[in-house]
Assembly symmetry: C2
Homo-oligomer: 490 residues x 2
């Protein structure tokens, strides 16, 4: 894979002087067109040490309007980053639509290093590359143009480069003992990089290997390819949504997981109040347990309108210190959020260790309201199931505790609660025309909910279905489940 980048590619000063000015002009034009075209460009600059990655990144910033470029160097992860799933830092860095995000170092860096140092196995490297391929696929399906450059130096060329830098007093500081240590591992790195590139070179986002012996050749090549791909994408008509067949739920009997629930389960007020106090006491102690600091707690509440999500959440937060938790009510996305992949607004709100994040509605909106109301294409929500499972897998692997509650009530009980809300002045704000409209789509929602439970109730992140016809019963079930889970984990 690297042979073509070991041929001693170079260009003369004349070519450089002739080619650069028109390239800069064309890049600037493309950049301004991008601002209105509303898709993001994700540009990775990866490669071996001393291959001029940051110089190339600087050149791109110099050639273009840096106000519309977001450049990210890969430093050591911050404490903020260390306490969240590995990919969190990259999600924070994703460019919004209309902008170019340049990554000097990327999500490839860590797995390649880990494998080269023998800290993970080949099968684990493949696991990581599979996750990365799915992540990039998601970016592409959300509209991003993904360009991946691998800066390559042959072994001899790298040695020469490091020695050259060392000889010059002005650049000596740039060569560290770590660089020489990595050089000794050249063959290992080459092999691991080759395997990683092979696993992630897809038709939509192939790696572009660029020889790095001649900086002029290297920078001009990157600039020209960026221009070509960007221009091609800008001039291309918006792609039609891929045709995905509607998959009707064949139901031979009228049984489904919602209808099979026993909604007559109830609890009387006295028992409720007693148990509530006990459970809230336990919860309070558990959240202050010293082992809790090793985890982040993520709670997801979903359910039809008036199912009791707010009430259930309040019974939890009553037991918590206000500095510990945050509630994220999920409504229509903001402008900033609409300029990003749909999961972005949930990634940005992930809690640190020792903290509790409560989502009042969540990423499941994609396969519920967005599906039913047609806010996204069928292809979009069809792929969302596995994207969500991948997302939750990352949460769980970072030792977050994830609990998902589906609060279920009957259509009749919903009507009763709607009417009660309308009749009670201080509850009236809770009921809108939209709630009544949603109610008419009950059967469509039922299908969507059943699909959601089937596709996303996994061993690593199962749904807890809460019979909420009786509020007391529902709230106690939520608290019990939460307390039980914390007791198991801590």
């Amino acid at each position: 894979m690297f042979e073509s980048a070991e041929l001693g590619h170079r260009i003369s000063k004349e070519v450089w002087d002739r080619e650069v000015p028109p390239l800069r002009e064309a890049l600037l034009d493309a950049q301004y067109d991008l601002a209105t075209a509303r898709f993001p460009v994700v540009l990775l600059v990866a490669g071996v040490d001393g291959s001029g990655k940051s110089e190339t990144v600087n050149t791109l910033n110099e050639w273009m309007d840096p106000r519309h470029i977001q450049t990210h160097g890969l430093d050591e992860p911050s404490d903020e980053e260390r306490e969240r799933p590995h990919m969190w830092r990259y999600w924070r860095m994703l460019p919004p639509k209309g902008k170019i995000g340049i990554f000097d170092g990327s999500w490839y860096t860590w797995p390649i290093l880990e494998r080269a140092h023998g800290r993970i196995k080949t099968s684990e490297l493949d696991q990581d590359m599979g996750r990365i391929a799915r992540f990039e696929q998601m970016l592409i399906q959300e509209g991003a143009l993904v360009l991946k450059f691998w800066m390559h130096l042959g072994k001899e060329a790298q040695k020469k480069r490091l020695k050259g830098l060392e000889k010059d007093p002005l650049t000596r500081w740039r060569v560290t003992p770590r660089d020489w240590k990595h050089f000794e591992m050249y063959d290992t790195f080459r092999q691991v990089a080759e395997r990683s590139l092979r696993a992630t070179s897809t038709a939509e986002a192939p790696w572009i290997v660029v020889e790095a012996t001649d900086p002029k050749y290297q920078r001009l090549t990157v600039g020209k390819i960026l221009l070509e791909r960007l221009r091609a994408r800008l001039d291309q008509p918006a792609p039609a949504a891929p045709a995905v067949r509607t998959l009707p739920r064949t139901s031979l009997d009228s049984v489904n997981i919602l209808r099979a629930l026993d909604l007559t389960k109830r609890m009387d007020k006295k028992d409720y109040e007693e148990e509530l106090l006990t459970l809230q006491g336990k919860l309070n102690l558990l959240i202050r347990h010293r082992n809790f600091k090793k985890h982040a707690l993520v709670l997801v509440f979903e359910g039809v309108d008036a199912a009791g999500k707010g009430g259930g959440i309040r019974r939890i937060t009553q037991a918590l210190d206000a500095r510990t938790y945050r509630i994220q009510p999920v409504a229509a996305p903001t402008e900033e959020e609409r300029a990003q992949p749909y999961l972005w607004r949930f990634w940005r709100n992930l809690p640190r260790k020792g903290k509790v994040m409560i989502f009042d509605r969540s990423w499941y909106g994609r396969v519920l309201v967005e599906r039913v109301e047609g806010f996204c294409s069928e292809a979009d929500w069809q792929r969302a199931y596995s994207e969500i499972n991948d997302f939750e897998d990352q949460l769980v692997r970072s030792r977050s505790l994830l609990l998902k509650f589906w609060l279920s009530i009957s259509q009749e009980e919903q009507l009763r609660r709607f009417e009660e809300r309308q009749a009670t002045p201080f509850k009236r704000f809770k009921i809108t025309d939209e709630d009544w409209r949603n109610r008419e789509k009950w059967p469509l929602y039922e299908s969507a909910i059943c699909d959601m439970l089937e596709r996303t109730s996994t061993e690593i992140a199962p749904w807890t279905i809460v019979e909420s016809e009786n509020k007391y019963f529902g709230r106690i079930k939520i608290l019990k489940t939460l307390v039980q889970r914390l007791e198991d984990e801590l």
Copy 2:
């Protein structure tokens, strides 16, 4: 994921009697439409032991025209199969366009069993599932409708089923000690199956989990879903090829891997003849070496017309017993081959252990002639690079020795050879008008060849580029490379 299939779904005899006759009729209609619609249906029936998989498969065969169904039970692999890559048996079984292939057991069976028994790690299971997901993606992109049914029984239901079968003297034989052993491992199997299904439930080929407690419910559900999906696909207009941007090769200098070759390398006739004899002698011994029986040898010869592929191949086969090797000249695909994914014709020709298969041109036609001549869409050849890398990865993991030779000559030397062929009566058959036409497309081929070498020269299966301007030099380099590789491996 399995909760919806543990609700005790069942249908009455009345529903069955009412629904089955029209379903059968509609299935038969769809089957006949399929014959002319020219896409294959790949239908997997997987699931826990005793979940009525084969009964369901039998029912489908009974309901439809079995002449257009190919049913495959998963027996122990034959010795033929054991000596080839794991997926070879399934490639052999793929249904051609217009037919339905039903798999009772599939490519999922082995990895799930291996993981449940702890013989592979979770990361290795994920590796396997990644490979499977890519394989199925390839089937879909080649046009197949892929339907995956998972037959599920809850733990109690499975116990009851096994006991029931055991009590009846007519079915007692069907319950083996292995079934009970697997039952003891129920929770493990469930967990492994869940992980596998989650990793491979894609938007295009999601798993469909079907409860298996009531055979009538189970069979009717499978039949109805098959009909729905098949009908939806038949009624859908042929999908437009996905838009993939043309990726021009930006070349700033005129250097590329072909032009960088030193084609002046030569060898005189006397040295050639001597070395030829020595190398052929070594090769003969190596192929008869007892360790050679552990491997299959696959040789790929590619190069422009008149580059000397035939001559190179003959110098190898001269050293071999005719029972050991086969040469597969690759020309236009046959009708049968055109009804299958493009790699099928190469899979079918993979050698057993201890045998040598020589491909005179190969699967690389996809990214060479098919690309340049427009015989496939750009999206098709763009994805072919990673499909080919996956294919070769499977060869190498099954301990096949794969050597790929690119024979390179200059455009001038090609002209000289063409003219010589035309002037020599016994060589004239080797030169056609097409050769002259191809020659005019030299620059397009050069681009395609450079891309191919860059994308598919991998650590596991590197290309050997052979400077063939001088035939003697080229032939000796081929033989030397081959002998060296065999000496290293045996």
